[in-house]
């Protein structure tokens, strides 16, 4: 039994935003109470006065590097970073070694997460065998093993016919394909957004159209086959516009963006900072503004950080040779909280983007809500605390973040997963083993 008392409970899925007390029991939400907190309570008590109590945050796009690249990250450290960042669930991409294109790998991830994880791990399996873009993976077997969706993330499914067939094939089963939307021919070996910064620095560019063409293609294929589709890491203005258009046309298409795309622009590449190198690349200011608009007007359904850990030496090199990607699980929430400034994004909307939205997209039952009977996944957020993200805060095995040294506002005060306290910074409360 766990009582979280006196917090502002924000649960957009059940339309709740009020001060009260949340009782968790047997890994489920038992009830929500208002008025006086229960005087005598048999169990742990967390005081959440002045804090928000929200359904456990869900990051639907992370790379845990396990199996195969455990020196970058593993399921234990990755989920520990997740819990510290307020996330009770993550969906991990298939570009492991071996690739998650077989039920053995899917099960390995699930079982290891069960044993060593600090958060729920939902594997995303490959669309194509070996991520090679040639043959479809065995979707049903993978789904039965526990895969919640399919993506070749890291690369696009280049063959339009193959993507069409895959989307068409899985439609009757309700499986979801997540698209890393990139025309890699148009992207043409680029290393940074094709804009002034790349021109000035002499870095080969990745034009916005490389993403836009791919998003348009994927949406049109979804339309053709009547399938559903989710667009990953949208970074461009036209990408947001295309998603908006698809939605207005009544298509079953959702999309995510990452905190880096509404926080930074390609100006961060000055000095050839390899920690600002990622794919899709940091774009221009007008793209950043468009992402913010998409978040405000509901076009974008989820914020997912694309946590991509890398060991130091693959970043400590000349820009062209540096690996793509940044860690993000511990900075995603505070960077997202910065959206509240100016009042254009309401707290409930933020909770949708970070919890209810991804739960709905991935059909995670019992997640993304605090309604009675839901899973006891809860994040207590201190929206005001000011802190600096320093190297000693990093719980990931890797340090590749452009946000190191940044002053942050707000973070997870407690992360409760399945009724167990997996992370807590509230005085007098200890984490469960």
């Amino acid at each position: 039994m766990l009582l979280i008392k006196g917090g502002r409970v924000i649960d957009p899925a059940s339309g709740r935003d009020e001060i009260g007390h949340l009782v968790l029991e047997d890994g489920k939400v038992r009830e929500f109470l208002t008025g006086e907190a229960p005087a005598r309570f048999q169990g742990k008590v967390i005081s959440a006065v002045g804090k928000w109590v929200v359904p456990g945050l869900i990051d639907m796009h992370v790379h845990l590097r396990d199996p195969g690249y455990e020196w970058k990250e593993d399921i234990s450290t990755g989920t520990r970073a997740a819990a510290a960042g307020g996330f009770t669930s993550v969906a991990c991409m298939a570009n492991t070694n071996p690739v998650n294109d077989s039920p053995e790998v899917t099960r390995h991830i699930i079982e290891k997460a069960h044993r060593e994880g600090y958060a729920n791990v939902f594997p995303v399996a490959a669309v194509t065998r070996g991520l090679e873009g040639k043959e479809m993976a065995d979707f049903s077997e993978l789904a039965d093993a526990g895969a919640v969706a399919f993506s070749d993330d890291g690369k696009p499914v280049e063959n339009s016919l193959l993507l069409r067939r895959a989307m068409e094939y899985v439609r009757p089963f309700g499986y979801l394909i997540l698209s890393h939307a990139e025309d890699s021919v148009l992207a043409g070996g680029g290393a940074a957004h094709e804009g002034w910064t790349a021109r000035k620095l002499g870095i080969p560019g990745i034009p916005s159209v490389a993403e836009e063409v791919a998003i348009a293609r994927d949406i049109l294929i979804a339309r053709q086959v009547g399938g559903k589709l989710h667009i990953q890491h949208i970074s461009t203005r036209m990408g947001v516009d295309l998603l908006r258009m698809a939605r207005r046309a009544g298509l079953d298409v959702t999309g995510e963006t990452a905190p880096q795309y509404f926080t930074l622009t390609d100006a961060a590449l000055e000095g050839y900072d390899t920690n600002a190198k990622m794919n899709p690349p940091l774009r221009g200011e007008e793209d950043r503004m468009a992402i913010l608009e998409g978040i405000q007007d509901g076009t974008i359904d989820a914020i997912a950080c694309d946590h991509a850990p890398h060991e130091a030496y693959v970043k400590k090199c000349e820009f062209a040779a540096a690996a793509n990607g940044i860690i993000g699980l511990q900075t995603s929430l505070p960077l997202s909280l910065s959206l509240l400034a100016g009042g254009k994004v309401a707290p409930a909307r933020l909770v949708e983007l970070l919890s209810a939205g991804p739960a709905r997209i991935l059909c995670l039952r019992g997640k993304g809500t605090l309604a009675a009977g839901a899973d006891a996944d809860v994040t207590v957020i201190d929206p005001e605390v000011e802190w600096e993200f320093g190297p000693s805060d990093v719980l990931s095995k890797s340090m590749n973040s452009p946000f190191l040294g940044w002053k942050m506002r707000g973070r997870a005060a407690a992360t409760i997963c399945g009724g167990r306290i997996r992370h807590v910074t509230i005085a007098g409360v200890t984490a469960d083993a």
Partner: protein
């Protein structure tokens, strides 16, 4: 003026006075080159390593001669004869060389930012001899010096640069050296090779070579680098030459006393017609001369010199 730089990584942060100071020093160096014994002991006991990760003959030779004229010990390291091919990282290679205690590393690398990156991790001085499509500062300075010799000034000159602007580190350095000294720059080439964003530098961007050359004082033709192109940016060399090659007909639009420059090596008959390459307006070989003097000047200044020993 006082010289405080430890490295010369690019011209993006060079003030005009600083460039003038380098040119003044180069003038003194050039005087050395007119002597019977073209060698001064200024860098005796200093070691210069030419660390070249990209094929180059002329730039490396120019640095080597510059170093030797100053009595430095010059060692050449090129990737063909190194452990780079065995998968060593750039940083490891540079640190290994650094452990041998050179005073100055002259670095050429195919990745933009490579020289800046190394400067953050090694303690000896670094001269960038070309990093990807970023900068080629000694070329920017030698172009400046060469034009000054002939024209006596930069301000107000119309200077057209024609060719592959996108991949050119020469352009990015010339934009700083010539642009900052007040030239009016025109960038010309096939549209996919002349990014529109370059207008942000204040240069005029065009795909019409006649417009670029009309009334120009200086025309810098760039080598069209077929080897850099994985996919075609224009239909063929034949078409390129027709649209963007400099020949008598196009050159006649320039000022009567216009000069032609080229960082080399020239593709004769492609970007520059055979006759123009050797005509009296061509400064190509004077650029090479200036190059040695400018590189001597930089080596000298980085090694701590303040005046030339006579």
């Amino acid at each position: 003026m006082e010289w405080h730089r430890r490295n010369v990584l690019g011209l993006s942060d060079f003030h005009p006075e600083e460039m003038e100071f380098v040119i003044d020093t180069a003038r003194s160096m050039e005087e050395v080159l007119t002597r019977d014994i073209k060698k001064v002991p200024a860098l005796r006991g200093k070691t210069v390593v030419n660390l070249f990760f990209e094929a180059s003959t002329r730039t490396r030779t120019s640095f080597e001669i510059a170093g030797k004229r100053l009595s430095a010990d010059v060692v050449n390291f090129s990737s063909g004869t190194s452990s780079v091919t065995k998968g060593e990282t750039l940083l490891d290679t540079a640190r290994n060389i650094e452990a041998m205690k050179p005073n100055i590393l002259v670095v050429r690398h195919s990745a933009s930012g490579a020289a800046l990156f190394l400067s953050r991790h090694v303690s000896c001085s670094i001269i960038n001899a070309g990093d990807g499509a970023n900068e080629h500062p000694t070329q920017g300075l030698l172009d400046l010096y060469t034009i000054l010799k002939v024209k006596g000034k930069i301000a107000g000159l119309k200077i057209a640069i024609v060719g592959d602007i996108l991949h050119s580190r020469v352009v990015r350095s010339d934009l700083h050296s010539l642009g900052r000294m007040g030239a009016k720059l025109w960038l010309c080439g096939p549209a996919p090779l002349v990014p529109r964003e370059m207008e942000r530098t204040g240069a005029v961007v065009t795909s019409d070579i006649r417009e670029a050359v009309r009334g120009a004082d200086v025309i810098i033709m760039l080598r069209i680098q077929l080897e850099r192109q994985k996919t075609a940016y224009f239909p063929s060399l034949r078409e390129y030459s027709r649209r963007f090659g400099l020949n008598r007909d196009v050159f006649s639009l320039a000022k009567d006393d216009a000069v032609i420059m080229h960082p080399g090596p020239i593709n004769r008959g492609v970007e520059l017609s055979d006759e123009l390459a050797d005509c009296e307006h061509s400064l190509v070989l004077r650029q090479v001369e200036s190059g040695v003097a400018v590189r001597m000047a930089l080596l000298y200044l980085l090694a701590g010199g303040s005046h030339v020993a006579h």
